[in-house]
């Protein structure tokens, strides 16, 4: 589905990683490991097509449905929860919102402004995107940060469900919640299966 050859990225004279070669087959979880500042987020951004690599090829076969969820949360404070939910999921309806809130245990009112939400709650609202539609390739940057144990479990289940359905999932995480089929270690440059 997605093939990377000799990928190199450098800012000015500083090379973050070089010569990365791997493939992401459908139904695989690819875990990206590395210390702070090793370029995990940058690699995800390159894979999702936001950033251009300095060198190397990035080949994506077909036109898969992609999604990148970074550690920034695109929730607008001046929108109500429902408005935010609907702008994140244009095809959803109000009943989807209530359903989703029950599913992830998000206790809030739809007419409340999202500025009242806590970080974890905002993150829950954002993650509705992976619950309400399916994707071919998913890029998750630290998806479990700021979430309670219960929610982590729910999201883990959803990720595993998507994996069974053939989604390629790229993941960076400091918490060891999920085991990757492929582990990309940016510190050592090793790729293990």
């Amino acid at each position: 589905m997605i093939a990377i050859k000799n990928l190199t990225y450098s800012i000015n004279k500083n090379t973050l990683f070089s010569g990365l070669t791997f493939e992401g087959a459908s139904g695989n979880i690819l875990q990206i490991l590395g210390s702070n500042g090793s370029g995990k987020t940058t690699l995800l951004k390159i894979l999702s097509g936001i950033t251009e690599p300095s060198k190397g090829d990035l080949e994506i076969i077909g036109s898969p449905k992609k999604l990148f969820l970074g550690h920034k949360i695109p929730i607008k404070d001046y929108f109500t929860n429902l408005q935010n939910f609907l702008s994140l999921n244009p095809d959803a309806s109000e009943s989807n919102f209530n359903q989703y809130c029950e599913q992830v245990n998000l206790s809030t009112s739809k007419t409340l402004l999202s500025s009242a939400l806590s970080f974890g709650q905002k993150k829950k609202l954002l993650l509705s995107k992976i619950f309400l539609s399916s994707y071919d390739i998913l890029f998750l940057d630290e998806p479990f940060v700021g979430l309670d144990r219960e929610t982590i479990g729910i999201i883990k289940d959803r990720i595993l469900e998507m994996k069974v359905n053939g989604t390629t999932i790229f993941l960076t995480s400091h918490q060891e919640v999920l085991d990757g089929d492929v582990v990309i270690n940016l510190d050592s440059g090793l790729i293990t299966k």
């Binding site: 936001i50 920034k72 929730i75 001046y78 929108f79």
Partner: protein, 211 residues
């Protein structure tokens, strides 16, 4: 539609420029003798300068929020067209800021006796010039994303000079009652061209910023 909703919710981003424009329009005659003939003659330049200022103020943070909260990144990863998003933002700004400002500007122009006839032409002219300036300054704001506004202004201010000159000519002709349909067409054409070109450039620059 989403962009309209967003702009509408951020009251200060659209009401602010309109209020500032109105304040300048009110403050200007106070600085002159009320019976002085300067009132009419210097009104044009005040109008141009305040249009320039409000175009800058209204576009100053046009991309900042979506940039810093990750909306752009998510949008691009879903293969969304940045160009289209920027076009929507521009349109929202035109309707919510430029049009009201054109109306306010026209009413003050009439009140100060700078425009006696051709109200519709004046309205259309002010509106189109405002859209040109808005497009140019929005481009500047895309350059200075998260770098503070000064960088954006100095980099696009030279580009706005032709628009200022054009507007000066327009107001001159208007007061002499020489305004022709072709002049309005020229303004409309330039407005559309600058709208498309600067929206496209802004989308390019924003993509560069996301790296």
């Amino acid at each position: 539609m989403n962009e309209f909703k967003k702009l509408f919710q951020k009251t200060r981003n659209w009401l602010g420029p309109i209020l500032i424009f109105t304040m300048v329009m009110i403050a200007f005659p106070l600085s002159l003798n009320i019976y002085s003939s300067e009132l009419v003659s210097s009104f044009e330049s005040i109008l141009v300068i305040s249009l320039l200022m409000t175009a800058f103020i209204s576009t100053e943070g046009i991309f900042n929020e979506d940039y810093s909260d990750g909306t752009f990144e998510m949008y691009i990863s879903e293969d969304g067209s940045m160009f289209q998003l920027v076009l929507e933002k521009f349109c929202a700004n035109f309707l919510m800021v430029s049009l009201p400002i054109a109306l306010v500007g026209l009413s003050f122009a009439v009140a100060n006796g700078a425009i006696l006839e051709n109200y519709l032409s004046a309205l259309i002219g002010i509106f189109f010039v405002n859209t040109i300036l808005t497009s140019i300054f929005a481009f500047g704001s895309s350059i200075s994303l998260n770098k503070g506004a000064i960088l954006g202004i100095i980099s696009v201010l030279p580009f706005s000079m032709p628009a200022v000159i054009l507007f000066g000519r327009f107001l001159d002709n208007l007061s002499l009652d020489h305004i022709s349909l072709s002049f309005l067409q020229l303004l409309a054409g330039l407005s559309i061209i600058s709208f498309l070109i600067f929206a496209w450039l802004s989308s390019k620059i924003i993509k560069l910023h996301l790296e």
